[in-house]
Symmetry: D2
Subunit: 160 residues, 4 copies
């Protein structure tokens, strides 16, 4: 499908990439660039999907141990960034969030939080990632749409 | 799961309902209340999911035959309304959209458009529906989050 | 301010533009390209703000005469498109909505609806427009954020 | 206007309130309940508007000293919470964010960040707050829409 195709080399494109970054490479990126998110660990990644776990005990909480709303927003933003980096095949710090929409559905129980991100659009200039956040019991805590702009040279030809 | 449980009778709840409205009942509701959306037809519905098809030739288009953006917003809004009505088990005109967020991903090809709506939260006061719009080729045209408020008596006890 | 500056000629820029389109020029554009929105009339426009009136009696309504939610979304989308065209100084059909978020605040009374749009960001690739919709009594009916992508050649150098 | 009226006592309403909380009362609330936001200080508050300053040096930053996106989301979420508390006339921890939409417009310069929040809707169940974030030079860094649900008894009769 158009919205899940691999980046193809072309006029504006960089040299062909070897493939998506691995979870290990993405976790190394988090350790280097996002020390605030040391609680997070990517467990699975492809060019279209990413799973990330976070130890809730190491995140900002509210009374009762639930993870704060902005911290949940931070998790989906990070997962989207990592998915885009995975797809681009290399660290791309110039991928920047342009907008984030998050709906808080149920307060997550204390404990592990899992973020599942999937690529809804991978364009030459804009990427749209849909993400869901679930607590350890599997209940949906939040749903989010994150839009990133990517430098034109980074993405190669795409659909938008 | 908390976000997909059946409505249960309780203190604020109406009499127990027989079950979700059927596609036929929902289509009759569209014909009565939404004559602007005569192009739409529900093909599948449960308390948590709904599929709706629309004949693009009968919707507002832009040059080239693609469906206009606001018309796409109208489709996801309608699908969300119908899913909530299905879940409530009866027509509930006082279910009102409180917010709608839509990301346009790829311009849909002319022809049939399919909207897939799923219930992310069914609360006593607020419902959140996630929807995707695909063209006849199956390509993702848009992704949306729609929030509805429902009258307290309609929903029965829920999670928020 | 950076977010309200005039487009300046530069490396990627088109020839210098004469200035924003006038309300008359924008209304001619609506008549040519958006026959569905014949009820709308721009009454004021600059490079950063735009006012548009719509005759509610000629829009899609709901029982009671209130304007339908998707029709309200259509008004803010159109106002954003026209503001961006005004700023660019010429009709730019390739300006495309990438996302729209609208909060419905109060059901508008039947009658005239006024949309006020202002440019929050005018970048090389992305424009963000904030819009408010008020009914004839001046009550706030809806508030919206609309993001457009503009073709790189159209906008000239900007901030993003 | 309906969207900016004072809460009036009525059937569902608590005892009449003395008036909005003062900046001093709101700052005391932040110190007690939001130690993560010790960098924030309310400088002005009414029932419809609130201004809050944050010392960027004490917030989560990205390389170059710019404030991280999720931290900006946290500021607008906090400002919305405080504005709603101010309007209600007393601390209301059960006011919960139901959704947050933020558009990142320009990376803020290091230094002071100012959040300006205004009440777009103050309903019996839902409140919608619009917020803008500006850096020390006055440039618009972000624009946001935050929706809160408030306990029915807290808000008194309203518009929705």
């Amino acid at each position: 499908m158009r919205d899940a195709g691999s980046p193809m080399p072309g006029a504006d494109a960089p040299a062909p990439v070897a493939g998506p970054l691995s979870p290990d490479e993405l976790n190394a990126l988090v350790r280097r660039q996002f020390p605030d998110y040391a609680a997070c660990r990517v467990t699975d990644a492809s060019g279209t999907h990413l799973l990330m776990e976070a130890d809730g005990a190491r995140l900002r909480t509210r009374p009762g141990g639930t993870i704060s709303g902005p911290e949940q927003a931070g998790l989906v933003d990070l997962a989207a960034f990592l998915l885009i980096n995975a797809r681009l095949g290399r660290p791309t710090p110039m991928a920047l969030t342009t907008s984030l929409q998050i709906s808080y559905l149920n307060r997550p129980r204390p404990g592990l939080l899992r973020t599942h991100a999937r690529m809804a659009k991978f364009g030459r200039r804009l990427c749209v990632v849909l993400a869901e956040l679930r607590d350890e019991a599997g209940d949906l805590a939040a749903s989010a749409t994150v839009t990133y702009s990517v430098p034109p040279a980074a993405a190669g030809p795409g659909t938008g």
